[in-house]
Subunit: 206 residues, 2 copies
DNA sequence: GTCCTGATGTCAGTTCGTGACATCACTGTA
DNA sequence: TACAGTGATGTCACGAACTGACATCAGGAC
């Protein structure tokens, strides 16, 4: 028989997610994770760069999907439509793993360190999109702007998807959010649509 | 005479920036910073939450400026114009400290950990903007979207300002970038403006 | 069979970050 | 003038995050 139980990496991922959920990210030590997976701390660091990386898989398919979708979009499409197309192509990656994504998101939402890492990952996706748009012939600024705005809209759409359970698909939220974005420069009835203004008194100057 | 030299915090900030510049962020230990400032490591942590915080001042005036400018903008303005107005109001904070800002940015650009923190700070600004927009009567989604798009555009404008020395002011870059954003959904001559397409072959799948 | 490879273990060390307690110039007050 | 209180700092001890160097040893290649 084999010298070790198979898929050490998978066991570490599973153990980490369980512990992060059960007792919180900060309160969980790497030694605990490794122990639960039947491995040592040192081995954890052979699979993951740090304690946070275990939640951010390195075999992430999103960059490739975004790059391919951007490259293959019809040529006459305006930049933000290309980005919208690419993001909708990527949506199934989330939708197909909904349970895991939600569990993961709950852990991230509870910890600022993990939120930082999440933002970094999104920024990396924006960089991927930027490069792919440049390869379509866009100048650097336009490419970067379309990419960053696309990711900005994705953030909002993703949060809505997470918070409005099975109301819509993520792809639908992305489509709707980017449609909303188009009207942000017209002086329509944006103001005081309803009176549900929250007078909390705090300014959120964190 | 006083028991200690005055402005320990300031000395720590100065020492940290010098060392981060000179030998890099990672290679600099907190003990070194404290030593150079004539203090101890423990005292460093009384002034700053961690090694990175020394580059991100806690008395940051930006949230208040953005919140105030958002609250005081003319009512009939479309959401993205309100955000543009607020960002331009905030620009002098950077422009007035240009030397320090550039030095700080060089350090951040050289280190992923610091880039993460920078992204987190920008996300906090987006949250501040979102709240201020909601208090103007915008619904949550529109507010969040306008705020995130504004910050996305700010990122691009800021990077252009940093890289194009004294070409334009930051405020001008912000204005131009957000003007560009308005045309991102129209199928104009975005494609192949010139032939400076870079065929690097790599997909940037980091 | 022997050699090599690769995933893991062991161990020692550095650095980050924190809690607990000590010090002592300065400040106010009787 | 004495004396208590305050606050910025120092000292010490410690847990936990990472890392480099070397050891182990099943299984596959030849």
């Amino acid at each position: 028989m084999s010298r070790w139980k198979p898929d050490g990496r998978g066991r570490l991922e599973k153990a980490a997610l369980e512990l992060y959920n059960h007792k919180g990210f900060e309160a969980t030590t790497v030694a605990e994770i490794a122990g639960r997976a039947g491995l040592t701390e040192r081995t954890f660091y052979r699979h993951f760069a740090d304690k946070r990386a275990v939640l951010f898989p390195s075999d992430n398919p999103l960059p490739a999907i975004l790059a391919d979708a951007t490259a293959s979009a019809p040529v006459p499409l305006p930049p933000l439509e290309v980005v919208t197309h690419a993001l909708i192509e990527a949506a199934p990656v989330y939708e197909e793993r909904e349970d895991l994504v939600r569990q993961r998101q709950a852990v991230i939402a509870a910890n600022p360190e993990l939120q930082e890492r999440e933002l970094a990952k999104l920024a990396a996706l924006a960089a991927t999109l930027t490069q792919a748009l440049r390869e379509r012939g866009l100048d650097t600024t336009t490419a970067a702007l379309a990419a960053e705005i696309g990711i900005a809209a994705f953030k909002v759409a993703y949060e809505r998807w997470i918070n409005d359970p099975d109301e819509h698909t993520l792809a639908q939220h992305i489509r709707e959010t980017l449609d909303t974005a188009k009207h942000l420069t017209t002086p329509a009835e944006h103001a005081a649509a309803t009176d549900n203004v929250s007078f909390t008194g705090q300014q959120g100057t964190a």
